[in-house]
Amino acid sequence: MLDRVVTQSGLLELIEELGHTHQLIGPVARPVPECDPPVRHFYQRVKHAGQLDLSFSYCTYSPKEFLFPPSETLFNFEKVDGRFTATPVLDEQRRALVGVHPCDVHAIELLDHVFAKDHADEHYAARRSHTFIIAIDCPTPCTSGVFCADMKTNTATQGYDVMLYPLATGDGANGNGQTRYGAVFGTEAGREWLYYNRRFTSPSAEDERSFKAYPQTKAAAFTRELNTTVDKLPALLDRSYDSLLWEATARRCYSCGSCNLVCPTCYCFDMHDHNELSETCGQRRREWDGCQLPEFAVVAGDHNFRPKAAQRLRHRTYRKAKWVKEQSGLAGCVGCARCDRACTAKISSVEVYNQLAEEA
């Protein structure tokens, strides 16, 4: 059932108001005349809601960087009178992430799980607890090649404060030709936002009708990309450890790590100390790392557990489709196909899964 309904212009006004208390981050269109279509979208910080393009297809990068930045200072240290003191750096800026699609909602759920597990990561937690997530559902695939429906991550029932469903454009009394968004809350903060704002209205009978038809229309719009099912992937991988595919595919791999770096569920990082020239003060920083990079698995004594690209490709595939799921119960891959689009060697995860399924 829908909680509330809002028109596109009403929504933008609400987001603008949210901007008084939160940093606004959402999809911004960047013209790229060389591309087809000649525009790409990026999650970016904006001053005004009007700069957002809520009818965006997909964003090149996921919104991960606003919770877990590519590079961040964990603490500053200083040596005073022969003793080191460390001051943690916590980012408690309030942010609203607008336009998070279901795949990325699932990915954020995984990050939440990972960064809370065992020793909770206070840096992630500080950002996460100050972030208000306004998700937008995808009525149709955002672009070709995505396999979120196969991964069962193209819909989300939790992991957001508010989820917006773009309903059929209303006419006359029902929306003046604007997109109407059906809204559902996921948290108490989301509920407050929906119910204490006059721009949100109660759904009309017509809204309820379109919302009822929504899942079916949506399911029909998402074609399958995988020739197997997500539940069968772990067993499939179990049988594929010695497949020749790893070597045959990885001969093309640059080990550039682009697939890791654009992936919304990749959470590995490396840490370094940055000293000032004086050596008495500095920062400990962490930076994104990736399992496809040649030195990712190097340990003390310079031993590399996965010196070959084929081993690394196999490792990544196992992580995405088997291990993460087995360890956390959550999706290790949300089918956004960002890795496939980023790979300049045109190595595709969907193709890897499909070829393994064919072999088996």
Binding site: V32, F42, L277
Partner: protein, 247 residues
């Protein structure tokens, strides 16, 4: 005692030595920690007892070669800075044309008074302890190097491709625009400055690994409709690759 540092230039634009001067405020910190004894861009030479010697420029004349041998003799640690010293740099563009062609082209009928050789990286002539590649050398990397040396920590170049820094910068990959960028095979450390400003990477920091170069050969033939000749020309621009074929 403060380590004695010297900076030398062979055949180059000396832009890398200038990059050191461009460190400005941070240069003062360095000057406090070391003693500079020889620096053509900044002072007159003082001493030949050198702990840490930096060389920019390629070996491109018999004179360069002689000077470099003397430098090596007097430097405990020798560091190549910039694409010219590390890879040969744009100086190597003359090599495939042959000396009989480039010498008269540059010096006309005076050519015989200007002895010149094929350009090569300094490692082709002497042992080199460290390399700080790039055209120009990356100032921040230079600073990190000096910090490591002063603190007795090991210094290593990144073993990752430029794509890593490009992605961290949030760029739209140039391949999406149909541009063949050399980022996937080039050593990172430049903060992907070229792709970030919209130009393809031309491998001025050298090739990150033989495996990446092999992958490029396969991909460019099997996955892309591009002329390998053009790619090789890009790879030769800064001397990253002098062969006429890819592995």
């Amino acid at each position: 005692m403060k380590p004695k540092v010297a900076i030398f230039s062979l055949t180059s634009c000396e832009g890398c030595s200038l990059a050191i001067l461009e460190l400005e405020d941070r240069l003062l910190d360095i000057l406090g920690a070391v003693e500079i004894v020889n620096f053509r861009e900044g002072m007159t030479p003082r001493s030949w007892d050198i702990d840490l010697g930096f060389v920019d420029g390629a070996v491109s004349t018999p004179e360069d070669e002689k000077e470099l041998l003397t430098i090596r003799e007097h430097c405990k640690v020798l560091v190549a800075i910039g694409a010219c010293a590390c890879l040969g740099g744009i100086n190597t563009l003359k090599n495939p044309q042959g000396k009989d062609s480039y010498a008269p082209y540059v010096y006309g009928d005076q050519a015989k008074w200007f002895p010149t050789t094929d350009a090569k990286p300094i490692s082709a002539v002497v042992d080199v302890d460290y390399q700080l590649p790039g055209c120009p050398m990356v100032k921040e990397e230079f600073l990190r190097f000096v910090q490591c040396i002063l603190a007795g920590r090991t210094f290593r170049l990144p073993e990752t491709a430029v794509c890593v820094e490009c992605k961290k910068n949030g760029n739209l990959c140039l391949y999406e625009k149909g541009v063949v960028c050399l980022g996937p095979i080039t050593r990172a450390g430049c903060e992907a400055i070229c792709p970030t400003y919209g130009s393809k990477c031309e491998a001025c920091r050298g090739i990150v690994s033989e495996d990446a170069l092999k992958a490029a050969n396969i991909n460019l033939q099997e996955q892309y409709d591009v002329s390998l000749e053009d790619v090789l020309a890009d790879l030769r621009l800064f001397g990253a690759h002098q062969d006429t074929t890819l592995p």
